[in-house]
Structure formats: structure tokens, C-alpha cells
């Protein structure tokens, strides 16, 4: 099978590149082993300092609403971090002292929402907090299997039940000006968080839970739908195992499921993510990129890979595949003409594009533009 461009890895970078190229009239395919880092996405693009209209438009055309407001956001552990652009679910406040009194509402039996850390964090900012648990009969069925009482399971119920939660919260609400709820609203229907907000007479803040991230999953679903609607071919659950390269040009890739049916393309984009997604792999001797064997920027001495103090910055998090300034992949010191690299497989080798999710978007757009120009 042949395409204009084949994208290896269907996370944020892969989908942004795919949507951009399809929209420009290319025929593309995304091949992706499994799900991606958006499942852990907090909802905030910390490294994007501006509301690039192109990014906002790309997301809004897919039905993902972003909002722009430089300030700080509240992390799931009750800390505040700087941000400017985030998914609409995630509030950004001008300063950490954004309210006076907060009602923190959790569901009975749900352990993945850290209400006490959140209370502690807000109290540090001089807010007083009250934590309450809702016991909804509809959730009892989930409590039977406590190990699986997770954000997504609750969110499925909340798609139908959010109005009831709103009623209960209104009963609980006294003189608080802020209500904190877990991010379990709007898995299928992106309008639900907004409707919850407008039906509670206080400022409603959705705080993060342990993964899977409900806003993250919703974003994946919507981006994938958009990509397929534009005619893109999404090959879910398949893995690129090998590439056929000749004199610096990649001709095709082989996948686990299609064995000897090779996927050909004029251009390829590597968006296989970091260690988590196996875009980068380590063993006791080296850090390597498993498909093409690209050059990787890392420290030779294994003792320098990690910092024994768990809380400190970990050097291995910065390792990444080497690429030239236009993000052509580098193999044995030479740039490959038609293989580009985007997203977290680059590690921190190209700080000019930012970090994390922001960098995934910006590198993907850059690569798509490069391909369209050539």
C-alpha cells in the first residue's frame, strides 16, 4: 500500500501532523502500536506561551476547545504551575489566590482524586476548604470492583448523570465561592463541563485525577475522528518493526500485522514518543531508537542517566533522537532526506520548539510544513 506520507506513532504529534497533511490534500497513514501519552495529559500545554491561531483552529475544527489566558493552573496535587494555553476543562487563574472558600467534592470510594492534597494546596494560598463525598447509588455498581473504579468508568456514568451531581453540589454548597470537582465530565460530550459550570452558582474548577485522563481521552477520540473524516488511514494496534532504506532514502516500512505487505511512502515521520511509548529504548549498555537505529543524544556513562534522588530532574528524560534544524532524522551522522522526527522521541534535543505536549504540536506542524514545501 502506498501513501504520500506515512506517520509512525499516533500520539499528539502524529495526529497533528496527519490532520495538517490530510487537510492540505495529502493521502497519509498513521501506524500506531497502542494508545499514547495523551492518556496522561493534564490538559495544559505549559510550553505554549502564545495562542497560535493555527493551533487553536486545528483543535477547534476537531471539536477540541482550547482557551488562552496567561497565569497559573492547579495541578492534581494542589500545586500551581505557569501556563497560558490549555484545554477548556482546565482553568487558568491570574494568581494562585483565586478564591476565598472552596468546596471540594469527591465520589465515595474513588481514590484517584486527591482531595486532601488539593485542600492543603489551596489552604496554603489562604483559602479555606471543605471536602465532601457524594454517595450516588448509580456509582455503587462500580464500587463492587474497587480496583476498577477509575476516572473513565466514572466519566461514562457522568455523561448521563451530571445533572444529578449538579443538584447534589447545589445542596452541599453554603457560602463557598469555588467548587472543585474531579475531571470526569464530558468523556463523550465535550459540552458537559461547560454545562456543569453554568449550572452551579460558584466558580467550578475541574482538577486532575490519576490516569487515564478524561480530557486527554476525549481529545484523542476527537482528533482521531477528525483525521479519519479528512480521509486519513489510521492503523491502530500495529507496530512498525523495520524500515527499508537505500542511500539515505526510506522506501517502505514493515509492520507486525502486515508482515510482507510493506507500506510505501514518499515521506515518513517518526512520532513514536519517548521511553514510555517505546520510541526510545534502553538496555544496560545503550539508549537506542529501535526502528531506524537513528543517532541518539545521550550520555555514554550509565551512571549519569538518572539521578538517585527520585524527585530531582532525571537526565534520561532529556535524551532524544538527533535531527537537523528542519527535523530530518540523523543516521550515522547523516541526515535522511525523507524521514522527519516530531514529538517526544526528540527528547530535549530541540528546545527551540518548547517541551512536552507543546513541543509535540510545534514540531509536528514544522515537519508537515517542510513536507508540503518540498
Amino acid at each position: 500500500m502506498k501513501f504520500d506520507t506515512v506517520i509512525i506513532g499516533g500520539g499528539l504529534a502524529g495526529m497533528v501532523a496527519g490532520i495538517t497533511l490530510q487537510k492540505a490534500g495529502q493521502q497519509t497513514a498513521i501506524i500506531s502500536t497502542g494508545q499514547n501519552a495523551l492518556h496522561f495529559f493534564s490538559g495544559s500545554f505549559e510550553s505554549l506561551k502564545e495562542a497560535n491561531p493555527r493551533i487553536v483552529e486545528l483543535f477547534s475544527e476537531a471539536g477540541v476547545r482550547l482557551h488562552y489566558k496567561p497565569g497559573v493552573w492547579l495541578t492534581p496535587l494542589g500545586k500551581f504551575r505557569e501556563s497560558a494555553l490549555s484545554l477548556e476543562d482546565v482553568d487558568i487563574f491570574p494568581t494562585p489566590q483565586f478564591g476565598r472558600k472552596a468546596l471540594i467534592v469527591n465520589f465515595l470510594g474513588y481514590h484517584d482524586f486527591f482531595s486532601s492534597f488539593l485542600a492543603e494546596g489551596l489552604e496554603k494560598q489562604g483559602m479555606s476548604c471543605r471536602v465532601r463525598f457524594l454517595n450516588l447509588p448509580e456509582l455503587e455498581i462500580l464500587q463492587q470492583s474497587p480496583s476498577e473504579m477509575r476516572s473513565v468508568q466514572i466519566a461514562r456514568t457522568m455523561d448521563k448523570l451530571w445533572e444529578k451531581v449538579v443538584q447534589e453540589v447545589r445542596v452541599l454548597l453554603k457560602d463557598e465561592d469555588t467548587v472543585l470537582l474531579p475531571q470526569v465530565f464530558g468523556l463523550q460530550d465535550p459540552s458537559v463541563p461547560g454545562r456543569v459550570r453554568s449550572s452551579i452558582p460558584a466558580r467550578v474548577v475541574f482538577a486532575g485525577t490519576l490516569p487515564p485522563s478524561v480530557p486527554g481521552i476525549r481529545t484523542i477520540i476527537l482528533l482521531k475522528q477528525r483525521y479519519q473524516l479528512l480521509g486519513g488511514t489510521y492503523m491502530m494496534g500495529d507496530e512498525v518493526v523495520r524500515a527499508h532504506t537505500h542511500e539515505g532514502v526510506v522506501h517502505s516500512v514493515a509492520t507486525k500485522n502486515l508482515d510482507n505487505h510493506y507500506i510505501e511512502a514518499n515521506n515518513f515521520i517518526l512520532c513514536t514518543g519517548g521511553f514510555f511509548s517505546k520510541g526510545l529504548v534502553s538496555n544496560p549498555f545503550q539508549v537506542y531508537e529501535p526502528i531506524f537505529g537513528l543517532d541518539v543524544s545521550y550520555q555514554e556513562d550509565r551512571n549519569l542517566w538518572y539521578n538517585p534522588s527520585f524527585q530531582e530532574d532525571q537526565p534520561y528524560m532529556h535524551f532524544g533522537v538527533k535531527a537537523d534544524e528542519n527535523l530530518h532524522a540523523i543516521q550515522d551522522g547523516k541526515a535522511l532526506e525523507n524521514l522527519y522526527v516530531a514529538g517526544s522521541v526528540l527528547g530535549d534535543t530541540h528546545p527551540e520548539f518548547g517541551t512536552a505536549a507543546g513541543a509535540a504540536i510545534r514540531t509536528a506542524l514544522h515537519v508537515a510544513d517542510e513536507i508540503l514545501q518540498n
Binding site: S145, P211, I217, T233, G237, N283, F285, Q286
Partner: protein, 408 residues
């Protein structure tokens, strides 16, 4: 550098990093609170079971074996294989009479076919359905697949000479469903392949792939079928140098993946030469062969990728073939499970869960309102037709219907 290769655990279970992604994609977990979910039933449970089989949980039987957890897992853990292997290894309860009946697709077919009109009449009757519901716990809402009067095998045998005349030959593993319930699909396949200059042969004697035996706790019998089928495939592929085509995604997945992974039956010699017919046809067209389609064929077709085809990763061939037909307006339905999972949905205790799982798919089909739903799986077909009233056709049958033939 192959260190990891040597330390790989069975079904890759030690690769699990507890990310919970699989739990977000398990259709059963959404509908049945008694099911512990893929992470708990798979890699988490395996750690305990390895210590002491006491930790084996009967609730693992609620797993559909749909493989959606494996498709979603970013770490390559064979979650569903872990669950099914645990059932094979630890579940000592003998299968119920009903499960034996449901699983014996070829025996049922052989018995029912000669008296097909009678059986079809009887299984369609309200009384029979009530009796089956009460005595066998086969849910009364189910429509039983109809049995055909003449088997596909006997139809094709009578055309042996005519088929042998084609310059290129393939063998066809048709499976129980084509043979007993829907010979038309087999005939359609022959029609399309003939139009490409390819003649179709039977294997000498195929047996049921055995998936229903595996999921209903009869793995010893499944292994026998597997060994028999591999012998048959080897005869066609190794001895005669043929490719073998199939039209059922589940039979194909079973032979390609479940034989080595769950039953320990080696398929290395035949694995790469057994293809879904959609892939075989696509590859022929890619190499320059041509099919001519009717100018008056106009249909709005919504394509549902069966879970097992998604796991195989071959849904793209069906998609691309349908999109090739000029008069087709093609809509790809969202990736969802229909809920039937072979014999699972036929059981009374699973009926409600099965319908709840399928609802998002049914709702989307109703809103798209296509002329036909396309799908490569026979049990999805029953489920979608029963639940939505829309006609479901295998992509091969749609190709056959849209073909322009220069009749002799």
C-alpha cells in the same frame, strides 16, 4: 543486545507498567461490574496466579476475548491471551451442556443442514425460543442463524473442474458459517476471484477453527482441530504451493494467533500464506489486476471493523476495496465492539451486557442510516441485524454484487 529477548515473560506480562489504558477500552468493564477488567484479570491477576492458582477468578469467563485491550496497550502486553490462557490452565469446571452445543458449530451444522427448513422453522418459533431460554439458558431475544439446505462444500465440489481451469489457484478455508449458514458468501468469493482469473479449491477436509471451543472451556478438543487444520493448510501451502484465503476475521485470527499463543500449536510454516480474501484481492489489484464495476451501482455503505479484524490489523484492506467501487459512498464507523463476541451474546446471562456494549455502535448506525452495513464477521452480522434492522453484508459480497460481469 538481545537481553530483553531472553528475559521476556509469557504473553509479555512483565511489560505491564500499570498505566490503566486497557481498562478504558474494555467493553465489558463498561457494562458488567462483575468483571474485574483487563488489567486486573490479565497482568495483575497473573502475578498472583503464578504464586497460587487459588487466585484464579471465575469472573474471567466474562471476558469477550475481543482483544481491544491488546490493541490499546502501549506496552505490547497480550492481555487477552493472558486471560484466556488462565482460563485454559486453571478453570476446572466442566462446560455446561448448552456451551457444548453452542461451541460445536460443525457438529450442529452437519446435524441441522439436512433438515434445514425444519430447524430454521423451529428455532424461529416463539415456543422453541422460550424452551431454549428456560432449559438451555440461550436468550430468547436471539435470532438463530439459519441453516442452508446445501452446504458450500458440496456446491463447490460440483464445480471442481470449472474452477481447476483457471490459470491461478487458491485454496479457501471457508469456516463453518459459510458452509452451513451462508453458502452465498462463499459463492460471492468464488465469483470475485474468478473475475480476477483465480480458481478456488477446497482444502481436503477442514475442521472448525475452534474458537468457540476455546472460549467455552474445551481447549483439548480445540487443540485437536488446530492440529488437524494446520496439517490441512500445510498440504495446500507447503506441498501444493497455494495461498489460502479466508472470509471470516475470527477464523483467521484464531489460526494465525490463537493456535500458537493459546493452544501451543505451531503455525510458522503456514502463517504468512493464509490471508483474508480482502487482502488477497487488494494485493492483486495493487499489482495491476482489474475489476470492472457496474455503472448503476449506488450505495451508501457504513463499514464496521470487527474487533478481531482490528486486532489482525487488516481492516484497511476491506476499507480500501469498498472505497474503490465507484458508486459507493463510504462511511467508516467509529471503532466499537458490537457486543456479541461469538457465542458469548447467545447466553442468557450475557444478553443484557451484550446489548449494552453494542449500543454506541447501533446508535451510530441509526444516525448514519446507510443502505448497507459492511462487516467481515458473521457474528457481528447477526448482532447488528437483530439490534438495528439494517442489512449487514461481508465486503466480499458487496464486491460481488457491484461487479460488472461479461456473462458468457
Amino acid at each position: 543486545m538481545k537481553l530483553q529477548e531472553y528475559t521476556r515473560s509469557h504473553h509479555n506480562f512483565e511489560e505491564c507498567m500499570k498505566c490503566t489504558v486497557c481498562t478504558a477500552f474494555c467493553p465489558v468493564l463498561q457494562a458488567n461490574p462483575l468483571y474485574p477488567g483487563p488489567k486486573q484479570a490479565g497482568p495483575d491477576g497473573e502475578r498472583l496466579r503464578l504464586k497460587d492458582p487459588y487466585f484464579f477468578n471465575q469472573a474471567l469467563k466474562y471476558c469477550l476475548n475481543c482483544k481491544r485491550c491488546e490493541v490499546a496497550c502501549p506496552s505490547g502486553v497480550n492481555v487477552a491471551d493472558l486471560i484466556q490462557s488462565a482460563r485454559i490452565k486453571y478453570d476446572q469446571t466442566p462446560p455446561k451442556f448448552r456451551d457444548t452445543l453452542l461451541a460445536s458449530t460443525d457438529m450442529m451444522g452437519t446435524l441441522a443442514r439436512p433438515v434445514a427448513p425444519l430447524v430454521n422453522f423451529a428455532t424461529g418459533l416463539g415456543v422453541t425460543k422460550t424452551v431454549m431460554d428456560v432449559t438451555l439458558k440461550i436468550d430468547r431475544h436471539r435470532t438463530f442463524p439459519k441453516y442452508a439446505g446445501r452446504s458450500f462444500e458440496s456446491w463447490l465440489k460440483r464445480r471442481r473442474k470449472e474452477q481447476a481451469a483457471f490459470p491461478e489457484q487458491v485454496a479457501y478455508y471457508h469456516g463453518c458459517y459459510v458452509n452451513y449458514n451462508n453458502p452465498q458468501l462463499g459463492k460471492d468469493l468464488v465469483k470475485v476471484l474468478n473475475a480476477l482469473g483465480v480458481g478456488v479449491q477446497l482444502l481436503e477436509k477442514e475442521k472448525c477453527c475452534g474458537i468457540a471451543l476455546i472460549t467455552n472451556g474445551m481447549s483439548a478438543k480445540a487443540r485437536k482441530n488446530a492440529e488437524h487444520n494446520i496439517g490441512q493448510l500445510r498440504q495446500a501451502i507447503v506441498d501444493k504451493g497455494l495461498k489460502v484465503v479466508t472470509s471470516s476475521s475470527t477464523c483467521t485470527l484464531t489460526i494465525r494467533e490463537e493456535y500458537p499463543n493459546l493452544l501451543g500449536v505451531d503455525n510458522a510454516e503456514v502463517r504468512d500464506s493464509m490471508l483474508m480474501a480482502t487482502r488477497f484481492i487488494y494485493e492483486k489489484l495493487e499489482k495491476g489486476a482489474q475489476l470492472k464495476f457496474r455503472a448503476d451501482y449506488h450505495k451508501k455503505i457504513a463499514y464496521h471493523t470487527p474487533c478481531h479484524l482490528e486486532k489482525l490489523g487488516w481492516g484497511i484492506f476491506s476499507e480500501k476495496l469498498l472505497q474503490m467501487i465507484p458508486g459507493v459512498e463510504f462511511i467508516l464507523l467509529d471503532s466499537n465492539c458490537c457486543g456479541i463476541a461469538g457465542t458469548y451474546g447467545f447466553k442468557k446471562e450475557n444478553y443484557k451486557v451484550s446489548q449494552a456494549i453494542g449500543e454506541p455502535l447501533f446508535a451510530q448506525i441509526r444516525s448514519v442510516n446507510p443502505d448497507i452495513v459492511a462487516c467481515d464477521c458473521e457474528t457481528c452480522k447477526w448482532q447488528i441485524e437483530m439490534s438495528t434492522g439494517y442489512t449487514v453484508m461481508n465486503p466480499i459480497s458487496i464486491l460481488a454484487e457491484a461487479l460488472e460481469l461479461n456473462e458468457k
